[in-house]
């Protein structure tokens, strides 16, 4: 068996194949997580501005 044959030989794909519904659900979940993270970034930024230096004061 030559090197070129080895490189072109296709391995059987034994991974999990997502159905159309599973792909759509995963994409929707990913977008929701991205939006939630984006909202948190904006929220933390605004809270830092609102609290000013007091943001470093921890009542704990």
């Amino acid at each position: 068996m030559t090197v070129s044959t080895l490189m072109t030989e296709e391995k059987p794909d034994r991974g999990i194949k997502l159905t159309e519904r599973q792909t759509r659900a995963r994409r929707a979940r990913s977008i929701a997580i991205a939006v939630a993270l984006g909202v948190l970034v904006v929220l933390f930024y605004i809270v830092t501005l609102v609290k000013g230096p007091a943001v470093l004061v921890r009542p704990l």
Binding site: Q22, A25, A32
Partner: protein, 305 residues
């Protein structure tokens, strides 16, 4: 020894399923009562910090709902009312719901503590722990008094809102706590009267299943006698104006009237359905009146100054 590695089926859970896991209808009542507690409190809270406090309370309530659905998936699957929930319907795996609930719980409590104050965070943590550990895991399957004691978790949000605004607790939020605490049993027992078969099938010892409809109606009447005076107590003690007192008295009288009608109902579930529906309206009316009363007196005070 053989090791079997099983691969779970890739999830088909959509965003809506995770939202459903957070019990959005319960969450809306929690947010509303917490908002009222926050707004009628004497402290001044920056609107952004107030928004963060409400967000944390909402997410904390959602976490408690998700953990409740995780633990109760088996009985939810046996009840017609809850069989379509994401876990018994197979759309979300139990482990995913557990991780989701724990993450939200930790996140909401820590964020509330860091951004708002530690008293509010401690109360939120207590609420979540009480709902999940005391109500869901301990009482719900063991005693017909499950929702009486477990009702404390649902009664805490106005206190969290108050604590978020003031950093402490006083007699007024305790009164709000007591109103919701004594409102909870007649609210859920009215539901349990026409869902008794469901609860019996699931093996949940609701009062209507264990003691029967007549005893349940009597106990509902008992709570309906306590609730209206409690409702007008904030006015009697001078914390609110006459507008609140009038609304709370009228709503309380209607509540008692419906409970009396339910007590006299021999068959059918018309009165229990009416009381269940009105109980939601009652809580909304009382808290909305409290808010309106506070806003109007603040507005008059502003113009008078």
């Amino acid at each position: 020894m053989s090791v079997t590695i099983s691969h779970a089926e890739p999830s088909i859970a959509g965003v809506g399923d995770y939202i459903e896991l957070m019990k959005p209808r319960v969450m809306s009542l929690v947010v509303f009562t917490a908002l009222v507690g926050m707004l009628v409190a004497p402290g001044r809270l920056h609107p952004v910090i107030g928004f963060v406090a409400l967000l944390c309370i909402a997410v904390g309530a959602g976490a408690a709902g998700a953990l409740n659905m995780w633990y109760d998936a088996d009985i939810d699957g046996r009840m017609a009312r809850t069989a379509a929930r994401p876990i018994p319907a197979g759309r979300i795996a139990p482990g995913e719901a557990l991780a989701f609930g724990l993450t939200l719980a930790a996140f909401s409590v820590v964020l509330l503590g860091l951004i708002v104050n530690i008293v509010a965070a401690a109360l939120l943590a207590t609420t979540i722990a009480f709902y999940v550990l005391v109500y869901t895991m301990w009482l719900k399957r063991r005693t017909p008094q499950n929702i009486v004691i477990g009702g404390a978790a649902g009664a805490l949000p106005p206190m969290i809102g108050w604590a978020a605004a003031t950093g402490g607790i006083s007699i007024e939020p305790v009164l709000l706590f007591l109103i919701i605490f004594f409102w909870t049993p007649p609210h859920f027992w009215a539901l349990s009267l026409y869902r008794a078969d469901d609860y019996a099938r699931a093996g949940v010892p609701m009062l209507s299943v264990v003691a029967g409809p007549a005893a349940t109606r009597l106990q509902i009447l008992g709570y309906a006698l306590i609730l209206p005076p409690l409702g007008i107590l904030p006015w009697l003690l001078g914390y609110t104006g006459a507008v609140y007192g009038a609304v709370a008295a009228a709503a309380g009288a209607a509540f008692l009237l419906l409970a009396l009608r339910l007590h006299g109902e021999q068959r059918g579930f018309v009165a229990s359905k009416q009381l269940f529906a009105f109980s939601i309206l009652y809580l909304f009316l009382v808290f909305a009146a409290l808010l309106a009363d506070h806003m109007s007196s603040a507005l008059f005070g502003h113009f008078a100054a």
